[in-house]
Amino acid sequence: MTLFNRLFRRSRLDRELDAELHDHLERRIADLRREGIGDAEARRRAAAEFGGVDQAKEYCRDVRGTRWLGDLTTDVRYGLRILAHSKTFAVVAILSLALGIGANTAIFTLVNSLLLRTLPVTAPDRLVLIDGEWTNPIWEQVKARQSQLFAGATAWSFNKLDMSRGGQAQPVEALVASGEFFDVLGVQPILGRPFTTANDRRGAGADLAVALVSYAFWQRQFGGAVDVVGRTVSLNRVAFTVIGVMPPEFLGPAIGRGFDVLVPLHAVTVLDKEGTGGLDSRSYWWLDITARLKPGQSIEQATASLRGVQPQIREATLPTDWPEVHLKEYLRDGLKVEPAGQGPSWTRSQFEQPVVTIMIVVALVLLIACANIANLMLARASGRTHELTMRMALGASRGRLARQLLTESLLLSLAGAALGLVFAKWGSALLVAQFSSDRDPLTLDLTLDWRVLAFTAAIAILTALLFGVAPAMTTRRLTPMDALKEQGRGRAGGRHRLTGPLVVAQVALSLVLVVGAGLFLRTFAKLATIDLGFDRDPVLLVKLDTQRSQVTDDQRAELYQRLATAAAAVPGVERASASLLTPVSGQGWNNAFDIPGKPDLSFRERLAWLNAITPGWHKVYGTKLVAGRDFTDADRAGAPLVVIVNEAYVRRFLPPGSALGRIVQRTEGRPDQPPPPPLEIVGVVEDSAYRSVRDELPATVYLPMAQSEEVFKGGAISVRAAVASPATLVRSLTDALSAVDPDVSLSFQPLRDQVDARLARERVMAMLSGFFGGLALLLAGVGLYGVTSYGVNLRRAEIGVRMALGADVTRVLRLVLGRAAWLVVAGTAIGAGLSLWLAKYVATLLYGLEPRDVATFTGAVALMAGVGTVAAFLPAWRASRIDPVEVLREG
């Protein structure tokens, strides 16, 4: 009788038991007959001696210790039958649980991959990051000392490349990593080979043009072809040979940020035309450095040994073009390492608070759904009093009945959880897509791992207990006598004393969610309609990459002007201008300025944002010139240097009086460099957003592109469309711009999308909290309706009598509405208090309103009152339509 047999071969064991007992009987009969007793009598005597066969069997089954399993099977079967009888109840309960559990699982999947999981690499807990972003010269210093400091170290970075062979750009996300990458992380390609430090060195030439592809990219771009190794992929117009495919679970060294191709660090030298890739720049901060600790080495020890060599590393990598003040800070700034098992924390810090907030929101929704189902179950338990007391009269114990009811609850919640998993799989992918934007793509591993499944199972059981315990407890009050007293009218239970508090709790929690939804919706509405100082709808951005263009550096500004002119000539284009930067793109360029009369301001306080533009740029954006003039073609190299500033600059930096004609100067750099030239203000424009949509509009200085000393390869043409939908111009603009220079790669983005991408977090918060707030409101409404309606049914006779005795419609309405009103008022009061307390925790996610925003709170309370009134009024109205004559006849 092994455990396996006991659990899974129960029918075989039962058959054996039958055979054994039957054998016993037959032997007894045979013995009796041998004593000369007739067949019939022998059988009778044997059976009588034996006693109850079924009883004997039951005792034997008890010995097995698996009785509970048999009971469970019975309970499940019975439960399924009961649920099949009340389909509407079952469907409503399962669907609301599926939604609740599904939403919780979906968000937990995100929490799991964002906050709990470690990178799919060897011993992730031994990985550390050198805190911050680093230049390549610093990396080379660390690299030279890596065996002394760590078990190994690697530097990596993300880089957006273009895989088109001309014309419109096809962006790819490239992960650039040093040759130590594979050894330090302990990952290997599933196909092909990795690159090593032997490839990844300066001057390795063609050896550098190799790439590994991510699993997803392999599937998408090469259809998962096995012979992908040896094929080529064009990156910034350079043919790279594919040498391998990375495993599917490896999404990169940073959680949240995926990659398409993985190329050697030194490949950046073949990706730009000059062949430098910024490797020698001492102020180009672009690398993350991940290291693996030596066996037994602690994080503190690693930091200590890094501090030991810090002076040498810093001295050897001093930025050449920094002012003295900064260099002192540079030397002082201590290097330290931090755990990197989950990769760097930028994605986590960006999404942690929103995701945790939504996790709480969906948990509350599930609680409200539980309260609803508990109420329905309580009502049903009262309706089932007759059935339950009958079973009790037939010998079932109270515990046994309670178990039966709990089994039913568990069936409901498990069905809900199963459906919820499907919903979650889809929901989490949708959520990631919503959080993701072109500029900040979010890539997460959303597979349902054991943690997610355990979480779902746990909340399924927890919810079953939450809504199942109260109904199961009702069996305590039942006695078998009830079966006789009640003639199947099912009223013994009456109104359960828990239903009131449950509805109050629902109303309170719903109000919290509605307040949250109100706060997030208002935040998003404020941000979405905020005046950024420019028109977002008519503008189409054409981002340029002129890296592969044949023009020389001193012809570059002229190329941009020619591109802008060509764009302006396209039909449907009202005007077009070029600029180095576009608003709220996430990029920025700033400089400190000398402020006349305020010499004591710190370097940081004198910073202003800069942009280089061609004439007419502000007109494209609809930003008005308030004084002076726009740039003209005459403001070119060699002509007097001029600038346009915005009003914020004037307010902040200039003494009262006209700004026009004033000379401004950038703060001097190092003493050995020529002083920056004086610039004359020729125009003042309105303020507009530069980098952030949330911050105050900042002081900004515009330079004519033709006079800018900076050499740039990015930039954009901003096009103001005369047609309603700027996106329709893409084709004709591509043709016109490619005609000017076929080697320029182009990517298009409506300005509105660029602005919206910055609001992804706020949009998702508004969308989700709005959805769940609405759902909570609906659930609370349904709950209140159910309880009130049930109460009316119970008091039908009483109301009928009252009406027969002269109570009019208003009296009846008041009777029913009175109780409902109490529930709503109590719930709203508790909910408002709870919201006031909770609101301060979301303050950082809000914009332009206080966490205790009066309008939001008032609105939420009014909405709740409205829903409560409707939910209670329907049954109350039905009560007032009760026909007393009919009721009296029934009685």
Binding site: L17, E26, R27, G51, V63, R64
Partner: protein, 112 residues
């Protein structure tokens, strides 16, 4: 009505069953018959008690059951003492001896 049969003290049935099957493997009916015969009809075990006891002993690993062809031509379930069962039997027998002696002393005290 038959003369009253003494109830078996708690736990004694296990000891008797172990002892009965110690000589040779037996099926349930034979065990019941053997107990009745040897005790000269004093010990009559109800089937509702015997089979649960057999199954309990099997589950504890003191008995091992096997379906084998029997004299009736049908297969019968034979119980056989395991090594653990033998150890248990010796132990229980010693206990029983000590206990009955002790009980005997107490009951005979004052009679001599």
């Amino acid at each position: 009505m038959a003369p009253s049969k003494p109830d078996l003290p708690q736990g004694t049935l296990d000891l008797l069953v172990l002892k009965t099957v110690a000589l040779e493997p037996l099926h349930g009916y034979a065990i019941a018959q053997r107990l009745q015969q040897i005790s000269r009809d004093v010990v009559i075990v109800q089937q509702g008690t015997l089979y649960p006891a057999l199954h309990r002993l099997e589950k504890r690993g003191l008995l091992k059951a096997e379906w084998k062809p029997s004299d009736t031509g049908r297969d019968a379930k034979y119980y056989r003492l395991t090594r653990a069962g033998r150890v248990q039997l010796d132990e229980e027998r010693a206990n029983w001896k000590r206990l009955t002696e002790a009980v005997g002393f107490i009951l005979s005290e004052g009679e001599s």
